[in-house]
Amino acid sequence: MSRKPLVREVPPTTWYFRHPRYLRYMSREVTSIFVGAYCVLLVVGLQSLSSGEAAWEDFLMALRSPASIAFQFLALIATVYHAATWFNATQKAMPLQIGEDFVAGNIISGAHYVAWAVLSVGVLIIAGVF
């Protein structure tokens, strides 16, 4: 008798149920669908703006529908989650070395959150919220 290595196939569609960390990863990837969908929504909005006032008003009306509000709420949560996962990842992708020591990862991620907050406030000011 001799070698007969046993190859264990990875289930191509259900592999992410094998471990919670894979589910976490998949949930991060799924959020990008919402990010993408919201981008499409913005493009549609731009198009309606260029098509005249009536179209724009129709678009705004549609945004106020319960289904639309539900979608935007979900998209907000998904986008925030997506953004957070990426900010947390920045410490791995962009380590900062000063002398022999590395800057702590949470400072790098934290700086991104701060930048995010500042930019968001800036956008809101431009939008005339304050």
Binding site: R18, Y25, D101
Partner: protein
């Protein structure tokens, strides 16, 4: 392999052959009956793998490897697995313990309750029992040229290449890889796309790329900056979570993606730019 008495031995006998030294704990007071479910596969007789149940008396402070060693010595000599150093540095004893890739010499019994399920490292073919075939990893390791390709040649008689502590620290973490392959077992990308070079090998390429003495990055890019290389990585991050040597392969791969992107931009978008 090899002589597998757990190394929590009864304390040293008086070396002159006299009476045994007085003991703090002659055993017994913190023993525990441990149950293990171990995946067995014998290519001579089996067409499929199956679980075998063992019960073995262990010290509370032991690791899973100690339990396996006791099974092999006292209960079932036909159980097969690799091990050597028992201090998490040789990288031999990687296996799945309750579904998690672990070095069995660093998986403490105190961390587990109930039946402990022990399986061979996933994503690798099983030769027998807990022994897998690492050929694919070994081949990929070689492909990334994980050795110093000097930036400038210098004779040994001229002394060392100077390297400041800061330059050393830049890559040191990535030089700690023990090639245990736990990251390959954790990486779903590797499981789904076996041509992926994978976390450990790519990390070692990065380790040399960022070594101040090295000038071989361009050569390595031919393997690294490809669809089988860093671009197959979708940043699950599991590699870094399971790494027993705190290497953080995920960070190495993301950094390589950034430098590879910069290469591309320089080459394609900047007039006259050649990386």
């Amino acid at each position: 392999m090899s002589n597998s008495l757990p190394r929590s031995q009864p304390p040293l006998a008086a070396p002159n052959g006299g009476a045994v030294a007085s003991l703090g704990r002659p055993g017994g007071n913190n023993e525990r009956l441990v149950q293990l479910e171990v995946l067995r596969y014998n290519p001579d007789t089996d067409t499929e793998a199956h679980f075998q149940h063992y019960e073995v008396m262990c010290q509370e402070e032991w690791v899973v490897l100690d339990a396996l060693n006791k099974i092999k010595a006292d209960i079932d000599p036909t159980l097969n697995y690799r091990w050597s150093c028992h201090m998490a540095v040789c990288g031999s004893c990687g296996m799945m313990i309750n579904g998690e890739p672990k070095l069995s010499c660093h998986a403490f019994l105190r961390s587990y309750e109930g039946v402990i399920r022990v399986e061979p490292l996933t994503h690798f073919p099983v030769e027998r029992d807990l022994v897998t075939a690492p050929d694919d990893f070994m081949e990929k390791l070689k492909r990334v040229k994980p050795y110093l390709i000097p930036k400038e040649t210098k004779a040994v008689s001229e002394g060392e290449y100077k390297q400041t502590p800061a330059q050393l620290m830049k890559f040191r973490q990535y030089s700690m890889c023990i090639n245990c392959m736990l990251c390959y077992a954790a990486c779903p990308e590797y499981g789904l796309t076996p041509s992926f070079i994978g976390p450990a090998a790519l990390t070692l390429a990065h380790r040399y790329n960022i070594d101040s003495r090295d000038g071989g990055r361009k050569e390595r890019q031919e393997v690294v900056a490809t669809h089988e290389g860093v671009w197959e990585c979708t940043f699950v991050g599991a590699c870094s979570e399971v790494c027993p040597a705190h290497v953080d392969p995920a960070s190495a791969l993301q950094q390589m993606k950034i430098t590879s992107s910069i290469d591309w931009i320089v080459e394609h978008l900047i007039p006259g730019g050649k990386s």
